[in-house]
Symmetry: D2
Subunit: 261 residues, 4 copies
Amino acid sequence: MSIRVTVWGENVHEQKNKVVAEVYPLTMHGTIAASLNKSEGITASTVTLQDVEHGLTAEKLAATDVLIWWGHAAHGDVDDKVVERVCEAVWGGMGIIFLHSAHFAKPFKRLMGAPCNLSWREAGERERLWVTSRQHPIAAGLPDHFELEYEEMYGEPFGVPEPLETVFISWFAGGEVFRSGLTYKRGAGNIFYFRPGHETYPTYHDGNVQRVISNAVRWAYNPNVRIANPGDAPNTPVDKALEPITERGPRLHHDGEAGYR
Amino acid sequence: MSIRVTVWGENVHEQKNKVVAEVYPLTMHGTIAASLNKSEGITASTVTLQDVEHGLTAEKLAATDVLIWWGHAAHGDVDDKVVERVCEAVWGGMGIIFLHSAHFAKPFKRLMGAPCNLSWREAGERERLWVTSRQHPIAAGLPDHFELEYEEMYGEPFGVPEPLETVFISWFAGGEVFRSGLTYKRGAGNIFYFRPGHETYPTYHDGNVQRVISNAVRWAYNPNVRIANPGDAPNTPVDKALEPITERGPRLHHDGEAGYR
Amino acid sequence: MSIRVTVWGENVHEQKNKVVAEVYPLTMHGTIAASLNKSEGITASTVTLQDVEHGLTAEKLAATDVLIWWGHAAHGDVDDKVVERVCEAVWGGMGIIFLHSAHFAKPFKRLMGAPCNLSWREAGERERLWVTSRQHPIAAGLPDHFELEYEEMYGEPFGVPEPLETVFISWFAGGEVFRSGLTYKRGAGNIFYFRPGHETYPTYHDGNVQRVISNAVRWAYNPNVRIANPGDAPNTPVDKALEPITERGPRLHHDGEAGYR
Amino acid sequence: MSIRVTVWGENVHEQKNKVVAEVYPLTMHGTIAASLNKSEGITASTVTLQDVEHGLTAEKLAATDVLIWWGHAAHGDVDDKVVERVCEAVWGGMGIIFLHSAHFAKPFKRLMGAPCNLSWREAGERERLWVTSRQHPIAAGLPDHFELEYEEMYGEPFGVPEPLETVFISWFAGGEVFRSGLTYKRGAGNIFYFRPGHETYPTYHDGNVQRVISNAVRWAYNPNVRIANPGDAPNTPVDKALEPITERGPRLHHDGEAGYR
């Protein structure tokens, strides 16, 4: 059994910007999926913003173990209904990996509940990523640091919640630092944010970056059956209580009532 | 200088339900505010769902150090614009305390990014809260446990993110447990969730509960100046970089561009 | 390739106490190992306090992927040198699982850096464990709660550091609660504390308990090569710096010096 | 009422090394204490390694709200009994701040339960500290980053447990990063690690560094009464259980027994 990965690509700059098209002739999502398909035990497909329902129908999400999200220029074009559907899938147990400028993607902001702010500079400067959580599964097989010669800078403060674990921190030639690899869990779903990947640089052709992404897929994968309605708030009636209790005091709710939302 | 607290009350069951009106002749929010106003260094006022903009205008939020939120029957009636305004204020540094059924309030779900699910039973059963983080400021002056003779049960799993700290865990007579006091930080804002407070029981007249709430106000209070636009993502141009760097490689953005959102 | 588990048993009450010997004719560690050996992909052996170096020689630890620790009556008899060796192995990447009264075992206290206090009562009362982190790998295949009809009570406050994740919380018939399943990472080593397992009750014969332990073994297992000297603090000389820098200012250390410890 | 701070200084290099004596004519601990004594509401005194019991008698610790620790060359000379006494005080509620090379001080290693490893280089290079937790009380009044022109480098991986909050991350000219400000709680005691402060550089004369330390003192201060024996594990007898239960099954312990340690 393979881990089924869906790579979601915004697919805007690949079509409009010559430089991006040249760096990523297979598109960015296509490049990421092609690399994942060389990893044993992973089967990756792609969908894009332009697909019907952005390619993220209920059926597609049900058949996705881990979703990877890259977006930048068109965050606002993503349908709020699809965002809710993606979040529901995550809460039910689907893994999700957000790349680079997806820090401002709607599902990331929705899952973080935070401003997700940062500072930035597009100058093709050197980024060096340091592993901060030794032998973390997402860092398996990596050296203790690696470099990307050309990258966009993202700087702290990064307005995200304190993570479960900080896996990478980046050094930038211009003087900034950034928490570049962060893990979270929301509902039953594992979430990983990974910083590198500006579209004008060949970041997703880099072997270390590809390894981080395939490691993260394995880390985020939850083999359990998806929880159907993760937000359900079931009533446990008095006569089904695990310990014998007697109902006391005034009541607001009626028997069998669903509760307020 | 006093800490300025605003208690937001849904104010529905106090008006419609005889039992609630009798238990809380001052309303629930009024009871909480009256108790806080007896605490040195705290000045509390109230607003309700029925007020213009639910009482949470930009001016009111700017004059609020800590917001307390109680809602249950009318979560869906809260205007999404007000929810965003409240979250922006939290990210900028306003403290916020969510009580009981506010686990499904829009701003709580928005700040948690999680399903916030739980199980529940309205049977007037005994709840016993245990302090799990010794001498946490929110537990100051409390015994190592205290009881509420009549409460609604909330049971695990509670679908919230792993907290910064678990301050209280509840035991219920019917056999369930619940993480009853949880701390978070989102942006610059401190967040506390506190479980007790079903509207048909006299929970907010209880001295220990009142102490938790006044402690939590002091804990959540951030004396710094509010951050005006916490989601801003400023560009740091190459010629203002802290270390001298030279621009390299292709560019996507133009000088002075604001970046995508 | 199997995960190599070593179950460390104190092996005192099995020898001295008739009740314990009857409940665990194979000893406690023997029972735990026998159960693990029925799990696919796990090979378990046992060692005891009475073995030379308590069975935890450098060779044995090098051949152990995950160590399980049960102790109670003889914590003080464990040699401090063995404790340091175990902690070094954990820091280098060996997984470790502490069971029940091992909350006061020397290696647990050493790895937690905390008092590890709790309250307790031996009354054969009902314990009910609730899963608090939905679909956590350690809870895979379990219902949302399960019961142990006869257990010793452990009560909060439990004096351990805030965990990475709280996986289980226990309810006790006598009115207490306890965080019963907690995850940590120290150095490269994954750590799990699991509460149940008083020696006079048949806890380790319980199917749910056995499943938690085998799940925890898989969760704690780190397939990377063990880090040889996890406490090393290497000097990076100026001429090997990743970015060109010039030495400036006064110096305390000499070239090639090891640094202070 | 003032917060009573004790600054513990190793006081070795100030006596032996000319450069250090010139940079810190008042000694390092003396300089830190003098700066703190200019902060409203803080009263600081100093003790040193050379004092009887290193100046950390039971009486002195009882009169200390927050202890600050700087050591480097003589970690091994600190008496293990004093280390245990310090840890007990922390677990009971005393705040503690570890500075720079105290990452290898005995009480820090004891409280972390981790290898506390890092990489290092003494080259007088530029360090830039970025605030990563916006408006954290320890960063109050600071800009979003500040620089120390001459500092020793410490590089990741830093072998400490995942903190409650990461407050600062450092950028170094030579290409490394380091988590420079980390918060922890152990027992009832608040702990802060702060990286800067190599003895040959004037770091503790820097206004921003002084502000971090005085902020950290206020953050770490716990106004509650110190817990006398934080490691106590009290027995709760059956007849004093909070809920009526009946003793069942076999017993190991006798009435009134203290339990094993």
